[in-house]
């Protein structure tokens, strides 16, 4: 070990790429866990194809996982990578444009045989790892497949099973390079393959072989060291967005003292919330995989009438199917949390790629005048707080609420200084009790000063009442076709949602001056990129303000005033301009859109360039 020279780095971006069947996502998440435990700040970005197993060796089948970690604050998964790990020729071809000039390529030599080169559509006779086309990079060619088979030759496994461990060989190699402990992965493999210990052992052996190979061959002219990041004091864990969403729902159930009822239909990228919740039935969580999206939301509405914290989730295409039922919850005025884990659309679109294009659907996408609150998460860990807040608003204001996340947050990971149950606010539910009647009659649409009605649960004697999708008479809830009453009820339902602005925090600046030349207003998963871009600009002498919205409907009370403190307002979004329209509409302020619609997050450099462009004018 003494022979090597250790180079210190403040941050590193590694991109793993290979066939969808190569275990790339697993390799990436394992490296993430070990890196988190080493105390680095980090952000990840899985970039995988919609096809489960596109033909092996083709560009269509390439799955990627990018991890950015550092000894400083990390806000994004990185624009470009420092290290590109490719398991085959297609992975190199599809990802070379993500690698920095001078970056490191670790290539599995066995993935560049004639067949793989042909499948990756390299011209006859061309092998990029043998010619000089990669001259400006540091290329390390490792016969990963061959070495994995060699080290497992006595394992008794067949060649196919041996080859499944080659990702672990690569993982071991990288663990050596970045001086990471193999222990968390050993623990993971032992538990994952508890029932097939021979497979678990093979994987561990392959990982150790990769580690030793890097050690003995001095693959990197030394090793890299990324010191722990100076993070706020506390206890941390690594968390992914969908997992944080699931935990947030369970936490809200605990703090409201209600059972969680989660009904959904599998869809990318929302399904992992269902998978996570279904493992925690000891919290009394009911998970339902319904026959379709409509049945999922409908059964959640039934459970809400029964007194559960009712939740449904989907991505854009599924949300559109739930539309009519959500409008029913709006006119019922019962709690319902609708999680929209957005993906690139319209229609099936790019199912595994991210986009923020469902904001208008969330705010307006229902028949009739059907307003409801909308809350968005800003980072993987923030999904916990944001969905908790969505549940609070739904339960305390008797309304359906949209929670917006997206594919980038759902599958991304970051360190999380997690709260304890005692830190979480109590959610106060307004049930109607026996005897809450007027002259012996229960009035289901009688309201408090916030215009919120009470939640009367079946089983409570004397509160028998009917709710329906037909317009209801004010106070009594009886069916009413009276034109004056309809207008009144539409206004009341709107006012009730507007009033929620009195019960959410005022908008604060994330950074920057309180008045000035430029304010960047973002929402959702662009948070980290905008933050990182403005931080770099500040270091370069340009002080631009940043406000990031959690509450999209209603807006915080002070947002209009805040915006007017700046000469220009820039609204970057991964869509064709949605928040920017809402800001223009509500505040008559000529906010400037900046849009990227490529199924990928903004790069830090893109935001910086846009800011420079505006400041030059």
């Amino acid at each position: 070990m003494s022979k090597e020279k250790i180079q210190f780095k403040t941050n590193v971006v590694i991109r793993f790429a290979g066939d969808s069947g190569d275990g790339i996502q697993l390799t990436g998440t394992q490296f993430t866990t070990s890196t988190a435990l080493a105390g680095n700040d980090l952000a990840t970005y899985p970039d995988y194809p919609a096809e489960i197993r596109a033909p092996a060796g083709t560009i269509a089948g390439v799955s990627g996982f990018q991890l950015h970690f550092g000894s400083d604050e990390v806000h994004t998964s990185g624009d470009y990578c420092d290290v590109l790990v490719v398991m085959n020729a297609a992975a190199l071809k599809a990802n070379l444009n993500h690698l920095k000039k001078g970056g490191i390529i670790i290539a599995n030599e066995d993935g560049f045989d004639e067949k793989n080169l042909r499948l990756a559509k390299y011209p006859d006779g061309v092998n990029p790892i043998q010619d000089d086309s990669l001259e400006e990079y540091q290329v390390h060619i490792v016969p990963v497949t061959k070495l994995t088979r060699e080290c497992l030759k006595d394992s008794g496994l067949g060649v196919r099973d041996m080859d499944r461990s080659k990702n672990m060989f690569v993982l071991g190699l990288l663990y050596y390079m970045y001086n990471r402990s193999m222990d968390p992965t050993i623990t993971f493999l032992e538990s994952k393959f508890a029932k097939k210990p021979e497979v678990g052992e093979a994987n561990i052996k392959a990982m150790k072989a990769g580690y030793s190979f890097a050690d003995t061959t001095e693959i990197q002219n030394g090793r890299f060291e990324v010191k722990a990041a100076p993070m706020e004091k506390g206890t941390y864990r690594s968390i992914m967005g969908n997992q944080a969403t699931a935990f947030g729902l369970i936490a809200a159930g605990c703090r409201a003292n209600l059972p969680v009822y989660y009904a959904t239909y599998p869809i990318t990228p929302a399904s992992d919330i269902l998978h996570e919740l279904s493992r925690h039935k000891n919290f009394g969580v009911v998970t339902v995989q319904a026959e379709d999206e409509i049945s999922a939301v409908a059964s959640a509405i039934g459970a809400s009438f029964g007194g559960s914290l009712a939740v449904t989730a989907s991505a854009g295409p599924g949300i559109s199917l739930k539309t009519e039922a959500i409008s029913l919850a709006t006119i019922y005025e019962i709690p319902l949390v609708v999680c929209d884990i957005q993906r690139a659309g319209p229609s099936t679109g790019l199912p595994t790629k991210m986009e923020q294009a469902d904001l208008m659907q969330a705010i307006y996408g229902r028949p009739g005048e059907a307003p409801l609150p909308v809350v968005a998460a800003t980072s993987p860990a923030d999904c916990f707080d944001a969905v908790f807040e969505a549940c609070r608003i739904a339960l305390e204001f008797m309304t359906p609420v949209f929670f917006l996340s997206d594919g980038y947050l759902a599958n991304g990971a970051e360190p999380w200084r997690f709260p304890s149950m005692a830190d979480l606010r109590e959610i106060k539910v307004g049930f109607a009790n026996e005897g809450d009647t007027d002259d012996g009659v229960y009035l289901p649409y009688k309201r408090d000063e916030r215009l919120v009605r009470k939640w009367a649960l079946p089983g409570t004697p004397g509160l028998e009442h009917r709710i329906g999708g037909l317009e209801k008479e004010d106070v009594t809830g009886n069916v009413s076709y009276d034109p004056e009453n309809h207008e009144k009820m539409v206004k009341i339902r709107q006012q009730k949602v507007n009033n929620i602005a009195d019960h959410i925090p005022l908008q604060e600046l994330d950074s920057g001056p309180e008045k000035g030349e430029l304010l960047v207003v973002g929402w959702g998963s662009t948070y980290g990129t905008i933050k990182a871009a403005l931080k770099q600009l500040r270091a370069e002498g340009v002080d631009v303000a940043h406000a990031h919205l959690r509450y999209l409907n209603p807006f915080p009370r002070n947002l209009g005033e805040l915006i007017k403190n700046y000469d220009q307002v820039l609204v970057p979004e991964i869509n064709n301009g949605q928040l920017v329209r809402l800001i223009r509409d509500q505040f008559l302020y000529p906010a400037i859109p900046y849009n990227k619609i490529k199924g990928q997050p903004f790069a830090v450099a893109e935001i910086k360039n846009k800011v420079w462009e505006l400041l030059k004018k």
């Binding site: 369970i250 009438f305 149950m421 028998e464 009917r466 329906g468």
Partner: protein
């Protein structure tokens, strides 16, 4: 795994208590009035607490039903009542949940939820008002309208083949399938009682007269001149008999081919006939399609009324509760702090 136990004689209400203060807006003469009345008559006999009863409906004429019942109720959206009721029942197994729906609501727009509800078998009581027409939208053909039915939307006759609701339900593995009609109050009451007593999803198809758009669609089963030949009433363990003085019977040739026979003329005893067995799914299927058989020498086949099929299978809500209990046994009561913390943490000091 049954959930709702129905204790006897502990009802805290009478039929009158079930009448809501809302004016009924069905057309005068509609079959729905009779169904409402029979439901209000039977419910107090079931030993339920009024506050534990919930009526859930979809959209259509029949779906106004909950507004007229002084119980908890939900008038929902088109086709989704079964799903909403399932969510309610799973979240609150102790409630007595009734679904009121129609042929358009459950067999057309809500067909998917209908079949999936039956297979999942939550303990719901589904009252399917079948009038073979769309009433609320003013007279278009429905998925149960016969071929060639002339309606506003099919002036040359419907080109579609209809669903047989009970055959569909049996195909979806329903555990309780029965039929009655609005114009036979006694029988309807008996069937409502049986439906309520069934642990699992009970499907009761009710032939219901739409006197405005499809008047008389089912009169053959109640008119004095025709009813004995056209309606056959099922009783478990009893032979299939019908016709004037129960002189006609049905026997099964080769075990699966129904044949109408004249019991007296052929000197047959009861044991020669098809003995009704509610537990026999194959025979229930034959019964559901009985009138589709070509008549033979002794006349046309009647339609059957009564309980076609009734078997026990675990209820959805019970299975859901059982898993929660098992999870608690295995992992202990949920501990939020432990969950959030997970297995891998690190300290920043």
């Amino acid at each position: 795994m049954s959930s709702t136990q129905i204790p006897e004689n502990t009802s805290n209400f009478t039929s009158k208590d079930l009448v809501s203060d809302q004016d009924i807006r069905w057309c005068p003469g509609c079959g729905d009035y009779s169904i409402l009345k029979q439901v209000q008559k039977v419910l107090p006999e079931l030993g339920l607490k009024k506050e534990n009863i919930v009526f859930v409906s979809g959209i259509g004429c029949s779906s106004r039903f909950p507004y007229y019942m002084n119980t908890y109720g939900m008038h929902t959206i088109h086709g989704r009542a079964t799903s909403i009721a399932t969510g309610l029942k799973v979240s609150r197994p102790e409630l007595s949940v009734w679904v009121v729906t129609g042929d358009g609501d459950s067999l057309s727009i809500g067909g998917n939820h209908f079949i999936h509800t039956l297979r999942k078998n939550p303990n719901l009581n589904i009252l399917l008002f079948n009038n073979e027409i769309y009433g609320l939208t003013k007279g278009q053909f429905s998925p149960t309208s016969p071929e060639g039915k002339v309606t506003k939307s099919s002036p040359m006759g419907s080109v579609e083949h209809p669903f047989n609701p009970l055959a569909l339900a049996l195909g979806a593995d329903a555990t309780f399938v029965a039929r009655s009609m609005d114009r036979d109050p006694k029988h309807l009451q008996a069937m409502i009682r049986r439906s309520a007593g069934h642990e699992g999803t009970s499907l009761l198809e009710i032939y219901q007269n739409c006197n405005v758009f499809n008047d008389g669609a089912f009169f053959a089963y109640t008119d004095r001149a025709t009813k004995t030949d056209r309606a056959l009433f099922l009783e478990h363990g009893r032979p299939l008999l019908f016709g004037e003085g129960n002189k006609k019977g049905i026997r099964l040739v080769d075990g699966c081919h129904p044949q109408v026979v004249d019991v007296e003329k052929e000197g047959l005893s009861e044991s020669d006939l098809w003995i009704h067995d509610e537990k026999d799914s194959l025979k229930a299927g034959l019964l559901a399609r009985l009138p589709e058989n070509q008549g033979n020498g002794e006349g046309e086949f009647p339609s059957a009324f009564g309980v076609f099929y009734a078997v026990e299978r675990y209820c959805l809500e019970g299975a859901v509760r059982l898993q929660i209990e098992k999870a608690r046994e295995r992992m202990g009561e949920g501990d939020l702090d432990a969950l959030i913390r997970g297995d891998h943490v690190w300290e920043i000091k």
